[in-house]
């Protein structure tokens, strides 16, 4: 059966992420409770897979690397219709940069085996490097198209993909198996249904550790990451604000004055 792997990442809720701040004194991250959600673009990747499944009876597997808590987003994906959920979780995986993340996920895809398509979001909302998809493609020796906006399945062997680029788009043909990263224009993700949630209760999530993947510890997590963070600093603000005061009308007039002075009007 046609097998699709969707890589999904648990990210701090973008609506609360601004609460994560650097302590200007200690220069470390001030930890606070921010809830984890499914990375917004990965919902579009999952939706694409579910639509293909509806047409061709594909098997949809969601794959994530993260702490055990990330299991909850895999449950959510299964409630949305994914058939299988695999969580790559091990203390060794922590602190991975894009390269080590791509490596670990690629190893997971290899272990799943016989995959026809790997789908990723274009970017994660917290890392936002956009590297994980294309780097995985190299590691898996798959052709890649980034920023897919439209997918038409020509046949089981190749797909035509409309991919975004600045001020326009590219039309690409890609031979399967392949890896695609997707944008939000691709589709509108479905909402969770009550029956989906009930069904997902019975589905189990498979967890694979470093040992299960059978790779050396030096190749994953912080040890397997070519890049490291050496410094964190708070930035100083150089501007001083002047508030425009008064009624709404007065403030609007004051602003117009500023815009006239600035040559905008």
């Amino acid at each position: 059966m046609f097998k699709i792997v969707v890589c999904v990442k648990a990210v701090p809720d973008p609506k609360e992420a601004c609460n994560l701040k650097i302590d200007p004194v200690t220069k470390t991250l001030l930890r606070c409770d921010v809830s984890m959600v499914l990375n917004p673009l990965d919902k579009h990747a999952l939706e694409a897979a579910l639509q293909i499944k509806a047409e061709t009876e594909a098997h949809v597997c969601v794959l994530s690397m993260g702490p055990p808590e990330a299991g909850s987003i895999l449950k959510e994906c299964m409630a949305l219709g994914a058939d299988e959920g695999i969580l790559l979780s091990d203390p060794c995986f922590g602190g991975a940069d894009a390269y080590a993340t791509a490596y670990t996920l690629a190893t997971g895809v290899q272990k799943i085996g016989a995959v026809d398509v790997v789908l990723c979001g274009m970017a994660s909302s917290d890392g936002a490097t956009e590297w994980v998809g294309p780097e995985m493609a190299i590691m898996l020796d798959l052709p890649v198209v980034t920023m897919a906006q439209e997918i038409s399945m020509l046949d089981g062997e190749s797909w035509e993909v409309k991919a975004a680029r600045e001020n326009g788009y590219r039309r690409m043909r890609v031979r399967l198996p392949a890896l695609l990263t997707v944008t939000r224009d691709l589709n509108t993700p479905r909402a969770l249904s009550f029956s989906g949630i009930i069904k997902a209760r019975k589905k189990v999530i498979t967890q694979w550790s470093l040992k299960d993947l059978g790779v050396p510890a030096e190749k994953v997590g912080i040890k397997g990451s070519p890049t490291i963070v050496t410094e964190m600093c708070a930035v100083e603000n150089t501007r001083k604000v002047e508030f425009l005061e008064g009624t709404r009308e007065e403030k609007a007039e004051l602003l117009i004055q500023k815009l006239v002075e600035g040559g905008v009007l």
Binding site: P14, C18, K21, I22, L29, A98, Y99, A123, A128, T129, E130, W131, G133, P134, E135, A137, I138, P143, V144, V145, T146, M147, R165, E166, N167, G168, Y169, R170, R171, M172, R173, V174, A178, T183, R184, P226, T227, V229, T230, E231, M232, C233, A234, V235, N237, R239, V241, F243, R248, E249, K251, A252, E253, L255, I256, L259, G262, G263, V264, L265
Partner: protein
């Protein structure tokens, strides 16, 4: 630490044979870094009909151009370009490789990095050389800035958006050589580009607009957004946005301002309903006068602007639009 004499590379980006500004900007910055490291700057320039650009790149600071000028290289092809660059890099061993954060660069850079098994930092806002002679790559994060290095793997790779570094003043007297790259090129064609379609961008281009408006999550809904768009039209301003506006589907990704979007430096910047997150604000750091409208007086955006208005943006912009219309009418009748 021993000095590494290996060169600094820049991957050139062109569109319809026009060299993109980010390429010269990166060459200019590479020159600055190379002078610290006492090494050379080399550019990989691929396309068809790109030979005229080598002079410009040398004047911008390059010492050598690896030029692949061939119909087969006319448009970016992920597999052919990656293979060619990786082979060249294995031969010449650059210590640093800089790539523009364009849609091509954003796909090509990770493909090359993964093949070379090295690190790649996304969307840097500054690059320097530290005491250990490593490339310091700065990115905004968590309301501040973080520094990333790639200590052991080579090349040290980074992408940078257009506008982060300024255009270097051309030095016409500079000398450099051009090394021509010949085929045959990779023939595996698992991906094919069928066509590249360019569309006229709507509205006033952000890069050149003297006034830029940016709308954020505080716009509230599509109607609130449309009002902000109307204000941009009335002010003859470029319309940009923050990421939530893209996520909501109000605005196009191409109009996002910030670290992973556009860098702009208008005379006047007006931020409406946005919180002043670093990743957005680095994109407008070069603005002369900055104004913010936000309903929360304590919003961090007000620490970063010159003029602040505390108000609900939907209600305020409606009044502002009305007042601007009145003002414009007066101007006309006075003439």
């Amino acid at each position: 630490m021993k000095k590494d004499n290996n060169p600094i590379w820049v991957l050139a980006d062109q569109e319809n044979c026009n060299l993109l500004a980010v390429t010269s900007q990166l060459v200019g910055q590479a020159r600055i870094l190379a002078d610290v490291l006492e090494t050379s700057v080399e550019v990989v320039l691929l396309g068809d009909g790109v030979q005229t650009h080598s002079e410009k790149l040398i004047a911008a600071g390059a010492d050598r151009i690896y030029m692949g000028n061939d119909p087969e290289l006319a448009t970016y092809h992920p597999e052919i370009y990656t293979d060619l660059i990786v082979k060249l890099a294995k031969e010449h061993k650059p210590q640093i490789m800089l790539v523009g954060s364009t849609s091509t660069g954003r796909e090509l850079a990770p493909l090359v990095a993964a093949r070379l098994k090295t690190g790649l930092t996304a969307h840097c806002i500054d690059l320097g050389i530290n005491q250990e002679l490593l490339l310091e790559q700065k990115i905004p994060a968590y309301g501040g800035e973080i520094t990333i290095v790639c200590p052991d793997k080579r090349p040290q790779m980074a992408t940078v958006a257009q506008g982060v570094f300024s255009d270097p003043p051309p030095d016409e007297g500079r000398r450099g050589d051009v090394v021509s790259i010949q085929g045959p090129f990779l023939s595996s064609r698992r991906v094919q580009t069928l066509e590249v379609v360019m569309e006229e961008p709507a509205g006033i281009p952000l890069d050149t607009a003297s006034c830029v408006l940016a709308g954020g999550a505080g716009a509230g809904d599509l109607n609130g957004w449309k009002q902000i768009a109307e204000l941009a039209t009335v002010l003859n301003a470029g319309l940009g946005c923050t990421r939530p506006a893209v996520d909501e589907g109000w605005a196009e990704l191409e109009t996002m301002i910030g670290q992973s979007g556009k860098m702009v430096s208008p005379d006047t910047y007006l931020g409406i309903g946005l919180s002043g997150e670093q990743q957005h604000m680095v994109g407008v750091a070069g603005a002369k006068v900055m104004i913010a409208i936000n309903s929360d007086k304590k919003s961090p955006v007000f620490d970063q602007v010159d003029v602040g208005i505390v108000d609900d943006c939907q209600a305020f912009v409606a009044v502002l639009l009305e007042k601007i219309r009145q003002y414009k009418k007066q101007q006309v009748s006075c003439q």
